[in-house]
Amino acid sequence: MEALFTGLGALYLAKCDAAKTGQAFQAFLPAGFLVRAAERLLQADYHLEDICAVDCAEGYVVVYHFDHFETPGRLTLRVLAPHAAPTVPSIAQLFQGAEWHERETRDFHGVLFEGNPNFIPLLIDPDMADCFPLRKEEKARARAKDMLEAGEVVFCHPAFTLMTPDAPVEGNESGGAKPATA
């Protein structure tokens, strides 16, 4: 699993407990490496399950779920799109099915996907397509680390704080979530 992400500048890699979260592995990537990651997944015969965004305090966390037909195990890719300029590269050139998921995400959250071949509203009427119903108000937003499962960290970029717990409390023995250095 980790081998898939070598050289992709991954910010955060973690194993997840499938019984608890339904996901086997997760990776937080910088937006620039998303397309290359998708390319590797396509070569590794993964299929795209869905794309959705979660509106967190830090920005829109765009979540890509992948799964494998022969060796099942859900793989979660995450990319952060800042509130100010929510732009993420599109993977619709590789996974054509992503086209609709990306358009849906645009309809709901207003995240823009650069390079989507047919980037028009999908589910929401074009006349009112700029309402973005799932965007939350500033107050209502929660932080990503409070919601997203940290998992058993394999690798964490030192500068990456989105998923790591707040300032480590002295004597905290919970182990697994310690930021690893690599």
């Binding site: 339904g22 299929h47 869905d50 979660v54 929401i124 119903p133």
Partner: protein
């Protein structure tokens, strides 16, 4: 090269204009739907025709969009369950299960064993009902009027059975976080036991009437070939993927509930065409009967709702959970992200039909209009599920 240089010259709404921008000269742009006999509701497909040949097709969604994911933000987890029956009227139990399962996973709630069996039984019966609905409607697409009546005759019996514990016939809201709403009573179980041999005896009739019919065979063989690679790129699952020879079924791949204890097969077909998908669904109905039969024998006595089951005010603990079940149309996924608040922070519903339909544009290219309709039908579309 395009005939239209600017948008002012174009007629039609936003989507037609957008579609026509890249149309070739002399081609006919036809709107199939949103009101059209073979779009199963309010799907709209814009096709560019050259004579009878489909040069390009683009499904337009959103005519039945209800924003269930927003509704999930204003309701507590338990209150959201009735919505799930409305997402997919064909296989409401599957959707019930997907959401309830995700909530249980996030909350770490165990389900009593009897409830698991009840869930499997109702879900599989509902799957048969869904396949029957597809079967009838698909043959209607192909111009045979009678099969849907026979299918509904059988489906009615399933609905009667499912009405006993659920009280409704289509949009079930039967599952609860931690079990199901009501136990199957003796009358219900007796009727299920009667139904199984009866439905088995009906299957040869289906085969005689249509499956073997030469006209049908010629209509659906070798059309709409979906390669495994296409399934992967579009994320197609369920009978669409299995019809292309991919042995992928969530019930086996990521087992949940009591499925690992049950003995059943995953029918696949290497034909890859509409016929493959047809065969898979027909074979699946038989497997559903097998599952139900085993469940009735293995079902223990006991509670069907866990003690201290979550109240409507129950808050899903912090964290995220993804739960997938095998629906009649493919992998139904519910992704729940909770910040521990009153309502779930973000609920994502993964509709199998959504992914299955997205490959239509690619598969229908270059086919005859009649074939395009046949391909559309073979994907088994339930529009409310796709639009959510």
């Amino acid at each position: 090269m395009t005939r239209y240089q600017n948008m002012e010259q174009l007629t039609g709404d936003f989507y037609t204009q957008n579609f026509a921008k890249t149309a070739r000269e002399g081609s006919l742009i036809l709107n199939l739907g949103p009101q059209h006999p073979s779009t199963h509701g309010v799907l709209r497909v814009i096709v560019e025709l050259d004579g009878e040949y489909v040069m390009r097709a683009e499904p337009i969604l959103g005519y039945l969009h209800r924003m269930h994911e927003k509704m999930a933000e204003v309701k507590t987890a338990a209150q959201f369950i009735p919505n799930m029956g409305r997402v997919d009227y064909g296989h409401a139990m599957g959707w019930n299960w997907a959401f309830v399962g995700a909530a249980e996973k996030a909350g770490g709630i165990e389900v009593p064993e009897r409830a698991e069996y009840v869930r499997v039984i109702t879900c599989e019966l509902n799957r048969i009902a869904s396949h029957l609905l597809w079967w009838g409607a698909y043959l209607l697409d192909l111009g045979a009027f009678t099969p849907i009546m026979y299918a509904f005759d059988d489906r009615e019996k399933i609905l009667d059975i499912l009405q006993i514990p659920t009280g409704s016939r289509l949009t079930y809201s039967y599952f609860r976080i931690g079990g199901v709403a009501q136990d199957l009573d003796a009358d219900c179980i007796r009727r299920i036991r009667e139904f199984i041999p009866w439905f088995r005896s009906r299957l040869p009739m289906y085969k005689d009437l249509v499956s073997d019919n030469i006209i049908l065979r010629k209509r659906i063989e070798e059309i709409g070939v979906i390669e495994q690679d296409v399934c992967r790129r579009y994320g197609a699952t369920g009978p669409v993927a299995r019809g292309s020879g991919i042995n992928y079924d969530v019930r086996r791949a990521a087992p949940y509930s009591v499925y690992p204890k049950l003995d059943f097969e995953i029918p696949t077909s290497d034909l890859k065409c509409a016929r493959g998908r047809y065969d898979v669904r027909m074979a699946e109905m038989e497997q559903c009967l097998r599952i139900v039969e085993q469940c009735l024998d293995m079902m223990p006595e006991g509670e069907v709702l866990v003690k201290g089951a979550p109240k409507p005010s129950w808050k899903v603990p912090k964290g995220e959970a993804y739960f997938a079940v095998e629906g009649a149309r493919g992998k139904i996924g519910a992704y729940v992200v909770s910040d521990g608040g009153k309502n779930i922070y973000r609920t994502k519903l993964r509709a199998p039909g959504f992914c299955n339909l997205s490959l239509f544009a690619e598969v229908s290219r270059g086919t005859i209009l009649a074939d395009a309709v046949a391909i559309l039908g073979s994907l088994d579309l339930i529009i409310p599920e796709i639009d959510r």
